[in-house]
């Protein structure tokens, strides 16, 4: 009987612990908010304002929109902590889209990683919802796949009809894969604690679209509207556009 009782107590405890784990009390999660600001021509981005790109080509921007996803944090001893996968559509026109609330394990971190674009699996698995809803207009209907980033405007040097500048960047399959992972060092250590309200301010510099790695001149390449070498080149350029300008612990 004693054996039976202890077995009973043991199994009962195991059962209760099983329940507790499902409620996720084991890991300490802390909130982290990200804010995004956009810059072009060394100034805060203003849609419709005449500016020049790094090659001195005059242009105006009417739309700047991009997907980011797959956040990770890098600890002080170089361990990568992947956050639950989430997808975010950030647009200059939607002020509310420029703030993102995440939850991450408490700890000290020295860098943040993110994906510019959408992983290939979400490009091939049918209709998606939320930020990935095709109705958001960041989706190629005739050649299935997400448009990862859009920069649209006009330029007097554009050879395109109506002097348009249209960079729709996407492509998830080899050799036109435009998915970019970037790691951004933090200017100071991020200390995530339960009950804290830390935030990271990121800045996207649109100039990088033209000269981040290889030159893209409006006079020569004013539009990219499908996956391909130009989209890959621009994605490699804009992979350098982000920097973390401030950490608020």
């Amino acid at each position: 009987m004693k054996i039976t009782l202890s077995v009973l107590v043991f199994f009962g405890l195991v059962g209760l612990m099983g329940c507790q784990q499902e409620e996720g009390l084991a890991i300490q999660e802390a909130p982290l908010s990200l804010s995004f600001s956009h810059k072009a021509n060394n100034d805060v981005l203003q849609l419709g304002k005449p500016i020049v790109n790094p090659f001195g080509e005059p242009y105006t921007i009417s739309n700047f929109t991009y997907y980011i996803s797959h956040f990770s944090l890098v600890t002080e001893n170089n361990t990568r902590v992947d956050l639950p996968v989430s997808y975010h559509l950030i647009g200059e026109k939607q002020a509310s889209s420029k703030k993102i609330a995440l939850m991450a394990p408490a700890g000290n971190y020295k860098a943040i990683r993110l994906m510019i674009g959408i992983d290939s699996s979400r490009n091939v698995s049918g209709v998606q919802t939320g930020a990935l809803d095709p109705a958001n207009g960041m989706f190629w209907t005739w050649n299935t796949g997400y448009i990862f980033a859009k920069l649209e405007g006009k330029s007097s040097v554009s050879p395109a009809p109506l002097q348009n500048v249209t960079y729709h960047i996407g492509g998830f399959a080899t050799p036109d894969n435009a998915i970019r992972m970037v790691e951004l060092p933090l200017p100071e250590v991020l200390r995530l604690r339960a009950g804290g309200q830390p935030s990271i301010a990121l800045e996207a510099n649109i100039d990088a679209w033209f000269n981040g790695k290889k030159p893209v001149r409006i006079a020569q390449e004013a539009f990219s509207m499908n996956p391909g070498p130009l989209a890959v080149k621009i994605s490699e350029n804009y992979a350098t556009m982000f920097s973390v300008i401030k950490v608020n612990n």
């Binding site: 099983g18 209709v127 299935t144």
Partner: protein, 350 residues
């Protein structure tokens, strides 16, 4: 002692069951009385497993019925005149009856012939160039194309949301009266997945329920002997590959086919091998409908193949066909017409 042990075991079981139940409660809710009625997708005997992932979009009577209403509803187009069914007519196995190029909003032509819609659950790519990789996102292309239905998704949802009957149907099918991309596309998929053509005379012969006439069986032998079945593989009569069958590039259309998607010159002028099921009711033929009649198609393979760097080796030197052989082949192709499918009231306009 034995009794006490029994009581102890009993208590143990009760406690464990209690724990199990308390855990379960957090995950599963009981079936509500208004749950949609599940529908099992029937795979015809001898056919492979479907490629469509039904677990992401379980078929229900309510979902299929909603999809049918959407498929036949002009409100999915800008001016109300172009439901899906305007180009995909049941009488033509959901191709466009007697039209070469499909046409849409504001008297505009597209550059291609509307393909028949059938056995879509086994199809991994869509459109003549295979540019669409999932059935659930296919309808977005014709709905938003300026020369087809010419509408935006938000406009479609706004129009449908103003209709109480639709809100009720979405509620019944998906448990929410929110009309959005996911629910709309999944309902359309559910309806289109029901377009299974597996009851032609050919199928009945394969099942031992009918026998070919002499011309039909001669035609079937010629079909295999001439290696038509290298590309038109049974039971779907397509291998879903992309091939250049020696059709010249029409300057007015400049349709490079698969290369538009892959940008690979090796894919120039390649188009998806169409199924031959219901081929006799889905004329005109080829991706742009340039050949009106089935004998014209056979004559193309006999003498009309244009050689270019990507012309398929299987047809590069033509497929010699005598008039007798053509006649028997057509007799066989006639057995691929599925009257049950093209007259199925469950697939007709509600």
């Amino acid at each position: 002692m034995r009794n006490k042990q029994t009581i102890g075991c009993f208590l143990l079981i009760v406690l464990l069951l209690g724990v199990a139940v308390s855990c379960q409660k957090q995950e599963t809710a009981g079936a509500a009385p208004n749950d949609p009625v599940p529908v099992t997708f029937m795979v015809p005997a001898g056919w492979p497993a479907p490629v469509y992932n039904f677990s992401n979009n379980p078929l229900t009577e309510q979902g299929i019925e909603l999809g049918r209403k959407l498929f036949y509803d002009g409100r999915l187009s800008k001016d109300g005149n172009f439901p899906c069914a305007s180009c995909h007519q049941q009488v033509a196995a959901f191709a466009t009856f007697d039209h070469d190029l499909s046409h849409g909003f504001n008297n505009q032509f597209t550059t291609r012939n509307a393909p028949a819609l059938q056995n879509l659950a086994w199809q991994s790519t869509f459109h003549h160039d295979g540019g669409i990789n999932h059935l659930d996102v296919q309808p977005i292309a014709p709905i938003t194309a300026s020369n087809e239905m010419a509408e935006t998704l938000p406009n479609v949802f706004a129009k449908l949301s103003g209709d109480a009957a639709y809100k009720k149907m979405f509620q019944e099918a998906f448990g929410s009266d929110r009309i959005d991309t996911e629910a709309t596309m999944k309902a359309l998929s559910q309806f289109m997945l029901m377009m299974v053509s597996s009851n032609s005379k050919y199928d009945q012969v394969k099942r031992g329920e009918a026998t070919f006439t002499l011309p039909e069986s001669l035609g079937y032998e010629i079909f295999k002997e001439k290696k038509c079945n290298s590309c038109h593989v049974e039971p779907f009569f397509t291998d879903q590959s992309f091939r250049n069958t020696g059709l010249s590039l029409l300057p007015v259309l400049e349709d490079i086919g698969r290369m538009r998607i892959t940008r690979n010159v090796a894919d120039s002028l390649k188009f998806k091998v169409p199924s031959l099921r219901n081929v006799m009711v889905s004329f005109p033929y080829m991706h742009d409908g340039r050949i009106r009649d089935i004998f014209g198609v056979l004559e193309h393979y006999n003498t009309g193949v244009v050689k270019s760097p990507t012309t398929d080796p299987l047809v590069r030197n033509g497929i010699p066909l005598s008039n007798f052989e053509k006649g028997q082949l057509v007799a066989f192709l006639n057995t691929l017409t599925d009257q049950v499918f093209i007259s199925n009231q469950k697939l007709a306009q509600p």
